[in-house]
C-alpha cells in the first residue's frame, strides 16, 4: 500500500464521512448539533478502524440527466416488479429463460457497479457475472420469449448504461460511450 499525502486521503474520504454522518442522523431521526457531532465522531472512528480502499476516479453529478435516470429507474422498477409478479402468478409458469453477455462501455469501478445494480432491478435481467477487465456483463433474462426479445433486453441494458453514464460519468466515459455506439452488443 502506498503512502499518500494526508490531504489527498482526506479529500477522498470526505464523501464517505458525509454519508456516514447522514445515516447516523437519519437513524436518530431528529436533527441536532449533538447528533451531528456524535455522528462525525462515529464516522471517523469507523473509517479509522475499518479503512476502505477509496473509489478510483471521482465521479461527477449532472442534475438533469440524473433526474432522467431516476425517473426511468422508478418506472422500470414498477414495470419489472409487475412483470415478475405476473410470471409467478400465470398458470403456465416460467417457459423460457436465457443467459446473455453484454459489452459495456463504461470504464470505472463505480459506474460499472451502478450499472450492475440498476440492471438487477430493471425488467427481466439479473447480473450473473461482471468481468472488470473486459467490461463484459453476463445477465440471466426472465422471461425470454424469443431471440428478438433477448436482443431487445440486451439493448435495454445498454440504454440503462447510457443514462447512467450521462448522469454520473466523466467526460472520458461519455466519449467512450459514443465511440462504441455500434458495437455495443457482442456478436453471438
Amino acid at each position: 500500500m502506498t503512502i499518500e499525502p494526508a490531504a489527498t486521503r482526506l479529500r477522498h474520504q470526505v464523501p464517505l464521512v458525509v454519508w456516514l454522518v447522514v445515516v447516523w442522523v437519519l437513524l436518530w431521526g431528529t436533527w441536532s448539533w449533538a447528533n451531528l457531532l456524535s455522528g462525525l465522531l462515529v464516522a471517523l472512528a469507523v473509517l479509522t478502524l475499518l479503512p476502505l480502499p477509496h473509489v478510483v476516479g471521482g465521479t461527477r453529478v449532472r442534475p438533469l440527466p440524473m433526474l432522467v435516470f431516476f425517473g426511468h429507474f422508478a418506472a422500470d422498477l414498477f414495470v419489472s416488479g409487475a412483470e415478475v409478479a405476473w410470471q409467478t402468478l400465470r398458470p403456465g409458469g416460467v417457459r423460457r429463460t436465457a443467459i446473455v453477455q453484454v459489452q459495456l462501455r463504461a470504464d470505472s469501478d463505480l459506474l460499472l457497479t451502478m450499472v450492475a445494480e440498476a440492471t438487477s432491478l430493471v425488467p427481466g435481467s439479473l447480473v450473473l457475472d461482471l468481468d472488470r477487465e473486459l467490461r463484459v456483463m453476463t445477465c440471466h433474462l426472465l422471461p425470454a420469449r424469443d431471440l428478438e426479445d433477448v436482443e431487445r433486453k440486451k439493448a435495454h441494458i445498454l440504454v440503462v448504461e447510457r443514462r447512467l453514464v450521462r448522469a454520473f460519468g466523466s467526460a472520458a466515459d461519455l466519449a467512450a460511450l459514443d465511440g462504441h455506439r455500434d458495437e455495443g452488443v457482442l456478436a453471438p
Binding site: 409478479a85 443467459i99 450473473l128
Partner: protein, 135 residues
C-alpha cells in the same frame, strides 16, 4: 385530506404486501435458482418500497419517515448484491435448468465446475474425464 392520505397509504400497504406475496410464490413456483432470484429481487424490493411509502404516510412525524427512507435505500443497494452472489454460485455449481435456456452465451471453460456432486439437474453438461490415475 387525512381521508385521502389514508386511502393512499392503504393502497400502498396492500399493493406492497401483495407483491411480497408474489415474491414468495415465485420462490415456490419458479423452476431453478436463477429464476427464483428474480422473484427474490424485483417484486420483493418494490413491495418493500411500497410498504415503506404506506407506512411513512400513516406514521406521524418525520423521525420515523427518515428511518424508513434508510430501510428503502439499503434494500435497493443490497438486494441485487445478494441475488448476484447466490446466482453466481448456482451457475458455477451447474444448478441451471438447461432445457429452459433459450441461449447461454456464458457457457465455456472456467465458468462452471467440471465434476458432478450428484445434485445437479439431469441435463447438466457431462462430467469431464478425471485426471489419469497412475496404475
Amino acid at each position: 385530506m387525512t381521508a385521502l392520505a389514508d386511502v393512499v397509504a392503504f393502497a400502498c400497504l396492500l399493493a406492497g404486501a401483495a407483491l411480497c406475496l408474489t415474491a414468495g410464490l415465485g420462490l415456490v413456483r419458479f423452476p431453478d435458482v436463477l429464476s427464483r432470484m428474480h422473484a427474490g429481487t424485483k417484486p420483493q424490493v418494490l413491495g418493500v418500497l411500497l410498504v415503506m411509502v404506506g407506512a411513512a404516510i400513516r406514521l406521524d412525524g418525520w423521525a420515523n419517515a427518515w428511518m424508513l427512507l434508510l430501510v428503502a435505500a439499503f434494500q435497493l443497494l443490497t438486494a441485487p448484491v445478494s441475488a448476484h452472489l447466490i446466482s453466481r454460485v448456482a451457475y458455477r455449481r451447474r444448478h441451471v435448468r438447461r432445457d429452459l435456456l433459450l441461449v447461454d452465451e456464458f457457457r465455456g471453460a472456467g465458468h462452471q465446475d467440471v465434476w458432478y456432486q450428484g445434485d445437479e439437474p439431469k441435463d447438466a453438461p457431462p462430467e469431464e474425464p478425471g485426471p489419469v490415475q497412475p496404475s
